[in-house]
């Protein structure tokens, strides 16, 4: 197996994170925005793992592993909660467009 430099991994994570932010800023659909949040979560979880590999290539750090597992679990809960909220919002406002959900504006 050829050795892939660590920068590639970091760049990949950053790219995924940037895509998530782009989706959050640019997309109007609430469900798409949720997917963007999920992407950002994935990117940060991956960063944890990669940092572990970078610092100590031959050891699986139990701290990192537990953080990532907890993060994934919490992330899925958040996703479930967010989707249910989205459904409720859709039922009330009959729209998925976040730009129309600006009731709290001045």
């Amino acid at each position: 197996m050829t050795h892939i430099p660590i920068q590639v991994y970091f760049s990949l994570c950053f790219a995924i994170y940037a895509v998530g932010i782009y989706i959050l800023i640019a997309k109007r659909n609430v469900l798409r925005m949720l997917l963007g949040i999920e992407l950002m979560l994935t990117a940060s979880n991956m960063t944890f793992v990669i940092v572990n590999y970078w610092m100590s290539p031959n050891v699986i750090d139990p701290l990192v592993r537990s953080i990532v597992i907890i993060s994934m679990a919490v992330g899925s809960i958040i996703a479930a909660l967010a989707i249910s909220l989205t459904i409720l919002v859709f039922r009330v406002f009959k729209t998925r467009d976040v730009r129309k959900l600006s009731k709290l504006r001045w």
Binding site: I21, L24, I25, A26, R28, V98, R99, S102, W106
Partner: protein, 657 residues
């Protein structure tokens, strides 16, 4: 000292405060009784501390051990920061002659105001809330004066401010017509007044807290650990921490910031606008909080901080700025508020302006004390004036409360001719008023005379002129107030009340505090030497010897200033007497015909336009600013996230740079 009197003195009122809302559900009488017993207990504790100070003497713990000599501190570790800063922040109680003096004044005045409250607040429904805040106030005020360090003092400082807010807007549900057309009901107006007090003092206290942190920073730089205790701040004879501030050029900022707190709490010049509005609360509250005790917290703090700054200013002359600011702001405020008191339309507002003015005298005395060679005279007379003002102003407010309770109006021109219906109120209020003007046998005369003599010794023309002119103004507005309330013909409003159910003196329980306080104003003038000697050296050895008293009473007559201020009193009192008591001069006519007088009247009545300016800057200006700013808030999630990303990037860049 009673066992643990220094702890119980503030703990008992606070505990009773916690209980009173629940007890009020069961029995109103029990709430009254418990509160009065609680504050009576505080008074007993405070009095019991006096012998300890006098004997310069030890305190015995239950197992017979000795805690320490007077002034002693009870110190407990509060925040253990040893691993971070090398020291821990303690809390504690400092019992010395100054704090014992303050505790006695507070609990004595509070006791009689509580007794007065029983009938004054007799028809009030929400009695639990009233006693909760009143008891909490007394407890935290005593805690404030007994604090041994700045952090704890600041916490108690904010607590009394909170009580003040809650009690000013006590009648926030009132649906009577508002005195200010900007508000729909009186309740809304009261709530606004409470918030005005809270916001103004809070604004001042923000600077104050920065100054406290500056002390912590300077001591940490110098000694390796932050020091907030008054005693430890005095411990270094070289005051290297002040040197640290001087080295970095922070002394002016530090002085302004540390004085900001006392000026806010004691309603001095830049922050004085909240006190006249604070009269929206019940009169007992005005008497206790906005005349007798809470507004004295600022004076107390300056007096407490005085020795530190005095010693420091010997090493670093720049620190003298502290006293210069205190003296000038005090003198200016005394004049400013007294001039506004001359035209006030409400009975309680006259007293409020007079309170601000008298507080200015106390600050003037403390400031002058730091500037002259022998500081004792001015310093002690400033504190003596604090005590005598606490008593006579509480008396004036309670008498005003009795009047308001009878005639159901707060406007001066709706009163009149009450002297023959309410003789006890009239005579007691007259005694308070004479004390305020500064007529001898009453305590105010001697204390104010001491202050003016000290200013004369300093030889500063501006300060002396302001102090002396204010004497004339004080005499003018006091006589004017009495004339409006008690003399002349009954107004239509009063005649209406007489026809309906007649006007008579309130019950004896309401008159008792008035009589006691009126007698106290005379007793206090005989106690003058005792108070001065007690604060100075913690002893009463010479205070009651005949020649000390004789010297004390003869002292004013030896000074040239006494005759000048007598002349000023007559100068102020005579026109006022003919205009408002005898009614031979028609003031209304003069004001309406003479352009200059009318312009002056308008200028004074609008409080030199300072209040309007503050509203323009801090309310309207802020509103207009936020009208612009709020356009940023679009309510769209995408845009908000974009802002967040921009913020993250900016912070990242700042960190990386």
């Amino acid at each position: 000292m009673l066992l643990y009197a220094d702890v119980l003195i503030w703990l008992v009122p606070i505990l009773i405060a916690a209980l009173s809302p629940f007890i009020a559900k069961v029995s109103r009488t029990a709430t009254f009784a418990l509160s009065i017993v609680g504050v009576g207990f505080s008074l007993a504790c405070a009095v019991s501390m006096i012998p300890d100070i006098l004997q310069g003497y030890v305190m015995y713990t239950p197992n017979g051990g000795v805690l320490g000599e007077v002034p002693f501190e009870h110190v407990f570790v509060w925040l253990n920061l040893t691993s971070i800063t090398g020291a821990s922040i303690g809390i504690g109680l400092l019992v010395d002659s100054l704090s014992v003096f303050m505790a006695n004044v507070i609990s004595f005045v509070a006791l009689w105001i509580f007794v007065f409250s029983v009938y004054y607040m007799g028809e009030e429904v929400d009695i639990g809330r009233y006693w909760f805040w009143m008891n909490l106030f007394v407890g935290s005020m005593i805690l404030l004066v007994l604090s041994n360090n700045l952090i704890q003092l600041f916490m108690a400082w904010e607590l009394v401010g909170l009580c003040s807010w809650a009690l000013i807007s006590f009648w926030y549900k009132s649906t009577n017509p508002s005195p200010d057309p900007k508000f729909a009901t009186e309740g809304e107006y009261n709530a606004h007044c409470g918030f005005k007090a809270l916001v103004t003092t809070g604004f001042a206290d923000a600077f104050f807290s920065v100054a406290i942190l500056l002390i912590g920073w300077a001591t940490w730089k110098t000694y390796g650990a932050p020091i907030f205790s008054f005693k430890q701040l005095m411990a270094d004879p070289n005051f290297r921490w002040v040197g640290e501030l001087a080295k970095t050029g922070l002394i002016p900022i530090f002085t302004l910031f540390i004085l900001s707190g006392p000026f806010g709490k004691s309603a001095q010049f830049p922050y004085h606008e909240w006190l006249p509005e604070a009269m929206a609360g019940p009169t007992t509250v005005s008497a206790l909080i906005h005349a007798a005790t809470m507004v004295k917290a600022g004076v107390y703090f300056v007096a407490r901080f005085f020795p530190i700054m005095l010693e420091a200013s010997h090493q670093y002359p720049q620190a003298k700025m502290f006293f210069i600011i205190v003296a000038y702001v005090g003198a200016f405020t005394a004049f400013l508020a007294a001039s506004q008191g001359m035209v006030a339309k409400e009975l309680k507002k006259v007293l409020a302006y007079s309170t601000i003015s008298q507080l200015g005298y106390m600050f003037l005395a403390l400031g002058v004390a730091g500037l002259i060679h022998h500081y004792e005279h001015a310093y002690l007379y400033g504190l003596y004036h604090l005590a005598s003002h606490a008593v006579f102003k509480a008396l004036l407010f309670l008498a005003a409360g009795a009047v308001l309770h009878t005639v159901h109006t707060k406007y001066l021109d709706e009163m009149g001719g009450l002297a023959k219906y309410m003789p006890i109120t009239f005579w007691t209020m007259l005694m308070g008023a004479l004390s305020l003007i500064g007529v001898p046998p009453f305590s105010g005369a001697f204390s104010k005379e001491g202050i003016i003599t000290s200013v004369y010794e300093l030889g500063d023309t501006v300060l002396l002129a302001l102090a002396v002119i204010t004497v004339a103004l004080t005499a003018f507005y006091t006589i004017r107030m009495l004339g409006y309330v008690f003399f002349g013909h009954e107004s239509e409003h009063v005649r209406h009340i007489i026809n309906e159910h007649g006007i008579r003196e309130e019950s004896i329980a309401m008159m008792l505090p008035l009589i006691v306080l009126a007698i106290s104003t005379i007793i206090l003038s005989f106690m003058g030497p005792a108070i001065l000697e007690f604060i100075e050296s913690g002893s009463l050895i010479h205070a009651f010897e005949p020649h000390t008293l004789l010297e004390y009473f003869a002292e004013p007559f030896k000074s040239r200033m006494f005759y000048i201020s007598c002349a000023m009193i007559i100068l102020g009192a005579l026109p006022s007497y003919y205009a408002f008591v005898k009614k031979t001069i028609d003031v209304e006519k003069i004001v309406s015909q003479n352009v200059i007088v009318r312009a002056l009247w308008k200028f004074l009545y609008n409080r030199w336009y300072i209040n309007k300016l503050y509203y323009l800057i801090f309310l309207d200006g802020l509103k207009r600013f936020s009208q612009v700013i709020r356009k940023i808030q679009t309510g769209i999630s995408n845009v908000n996230i974009a802002y967040a990303v921009v913020g993250i990037v900016v912070i990242l860049v700042l960190i990386l740079l």
